[in-house]
């Protein structure tokens, strides 16, 4: 198996330009972030932050300072509101299971949207198996949640509502404030959680202004290292731990804190938030360059998700009809353009993304979708290269498809 992969890598030799756009699934960590992290492995603050010696106190100070920086980026002054976890998957698990456990006796209903990330959706479905009632609110063809149905679903028995601030796949910026108002109006005690991993550092997002109870943020989505994220927990809110062990500085996550990763997360946050408006402007420009030239220059293309200000600044998701996604990602990779597809052929039938299905895309539309996320580091030259490669790749794959499936 590994020999095959070596051959696949060899097939990429000699690429003159490479553009990585699969920032949804993992990201390239900028050198300045890596350099900020390095001293914390072996030179400084390598101790356990709960122990009574210098390297331990250094670690304590470093973690608290990092939490303070991230808290500021989230719009809160209180560093204790920031609870580090190993990633956004873990933070989402903590938010849902931890809240359900803490409020077990009181209520039994969970409300989410149909387009939540799997670390919310699958966890909510797991809780459903354990006896919770789960309601999934539908979205419109652009991915916006139906606020009327959201209100109708929330009642006195609702323990938790979870709605992403920005959809991870199609970039829909949910009307979060309105959704929170609708929920509180129906049940002021319902806990409101938002997965804000695609909002943090990408749109204006302020936990205090929103008055949200729980918010998940992740490091790699803002070009920090993988393996670290955080759950914002509003002061005074009760969330149970979902893992047990040695508790250190993080009351909701046991185990030894990973100081270098936390430093990297804080550094990545700083970089995303300094020149925030310029960064957003730059990403939007590249995003719209991709969207407009792909949808105008290639036939039978559908944009998935909304346009303009209602779309996350970095998100491009398009479906090419008569073009299978996995084949297209391989073809693009061989030309140095790295993207992901909205379908995964891991079973007998290709599994379309639940988000694309929820916005009403037919299977064959979902199968030809690709997802790209631009960053502030991409240049117009990068995007020009992508725009040169994509039409040729789509053409070649469509050439193989020919008249198959055309009715």
């Amino acid at each position: 198996m590994i020999d095959n992969v070596r051959e696949l890598l060899r097939a990429h030799e000699g690429l003159k330009r490479e553009v990585y756009l699969d920032n949804e699934n993992s990201s390239q960590v900028p050198k300045e972030v890596v350099e900020a992290m390095l001293p914390y492995y072996s030179e400084y603050a390598y101790g356990n932050p709960t122990l009574t010696h210098k390297p331990g106190w250094e670690a304590y100070e470093t973690i608290m300072e990092s939490a303070q920086k991230i808290a500021a980026c989230l719009g809160t002054e209180t560093l204790e509101d920031v609870n580090f976890a190993p990633g956004e998957t873990e933070a989402n698990n903590l938010a849902l299971i931890g809240t359900a456990q803490a409020l077990k006796a009181k209520s039994k209903k969970i409300v989410i949207s149909e387009t939540e990330p799997l670390s919310v959706l699958n966890v909510a479905e797991m809780l459903q198996k354990q006896g919770y009632t789960l309601v999934k609110i539908p979205v419109d063809p652009e991915g916006f949640v139906d606020l009327q149905k959201l209100g109708d679903a929330v009642d006195n028995g609702t323990v938790l509502v979870s709605l992403s601030a920005v959809n991870q796949e199609i970039g829909t910026i949910q009307p979060l404030k309105a959704a929170i108002d609708v929920v509180r109006d129906r049940n002021p005690d319902a806990i409101f959680h938002t997965d804000a991993t695609d909002a943090y550092g990408k749109i204006l997002f302020d936990v205090k202004a929103l008055d949200v109870d729980l918010a998940t943020v992740g490091s790699y989505k803002i070009l920090g290292p993988r393996g670290v994220g955080a759950l914002y927990v509003k002061e005074g809110l009760n969330v149970d731990r979902i893992l047990e062990g040695q508790i250190g500085t993080q009351r909701l996550w046991p185990g030894v804190e990973n100081t270098p990763l936390i430093v990297g997360f804080a550094k990545a946050s700083e970089l995303a938030f300094e020149n925030f408006q310029d960064n957003i402007h730059h990403m939007r420009k590249l995003r719209d360059m991709l969207i407009s030239r792909i949808t105008e220059g290639i036939t039978d293309v559908r944009l998935n998700g909304p346009e303009g200000d209602r779309r996350g600044s970095d998100n491009v998701n398009v479906s090419f009809l008569r073009c299978e996604g996995e084949a297209l990602t391989i073809e693009l990779s061989l030309k140095g353009v790295y993207v992901s597809s909205g379908s995964a052929c891991t079973r007998r039938l290709l599994q379309p993304s639940h988000v694309l299905v929820a916005i009403g895309r037919k299977f064959d539309e979902a199968h030809g979708s690709i997802l790209m996320k631009v960053t502030r580091y991409h240049t117009e030259e990068d995007i020009e290269h992508v725009l040169e490669v994509i039409p040729k790749a789509v053409d070649r794959i469509r050439g193989i498809v020919g008249s198959t499936g055309v009715s």
């Binding site: 039938l349 193989i400 499936g405």
Partner: protein, 165 residues
């Protein structure tokens, strides 16, 4: 949606990059289709068969992943020059072997390719009103699998449409 690593081997990669006998055949004796776009997997086979029942030319069109393209391509090469009867005995296992192996979750691609081939052969004899002894009325494993995949896709899209209402 779960994802799995797909370490395609060099033969599959080569057939994906340079598929053989790709494209519609205008003078085909018989055309057969297996799969459908909702499965993310669909193959059309074109066979040109001469009056001595020998496959002179074979070509394909494929809507599908790299494994789908590679297996379709290799089937056209395997059956070219074969008598129809010999082509009937091509199995999905021999196709998988011919492409140097596939990740197990991609076996169905090879099965579908052979399913399309067998449908073409069956159709050829049906069109001519001939019933050779080796051609059983009972459908082969690959044809059955193709049928099942198509039914499953139909069921899923029907379920989706019901949910929409």
């Amino acid at each position: 949606m779960s994802r799995m690593p797909l370490p395609y081997n060099p033969k599959v990669l080569d057939l994906f990059r340079n598929p053989k006998n790709q494209g519609k055949m205008e003078d085909a004796t018989v055309v057969a289709v297996a799969g459908n776009p909702s499965c993310g997997d669909m193959i059309t086979f074109y066979l040109k068969i001469n009056d001595r029942d020998v496959i002179e030319k074979a070509s394909f069109e494929s809507y599908g992943c790299a494994a789908n393209i590679a297996t379709s391509s290799i089937v056209t090469e395997m059956v070219k020059g074969l008598a129809v009867e010999a082509a009937w005995s091509v199995s999905w296992k021999s196709v998988t072997e011919a492409v140097g192996g596939l990740p197990s979750i991609k076996f169905h691609c090879g099965i579908l390719a052979v399913g399309a081939l067998k449908r073409a052969i069956r159709k050829y004899h049906k069109d001519r009103g001939t019933r050779p002894e080796w051609l059983s009325d009972e459908i082969s494993f690959e044809e059955k699998q193709a049928l099942e995949e198509e039914e499953l896709a139909k069921l899923l899209s029907k379920r989706m449409k019901t949910e929409e209402k």
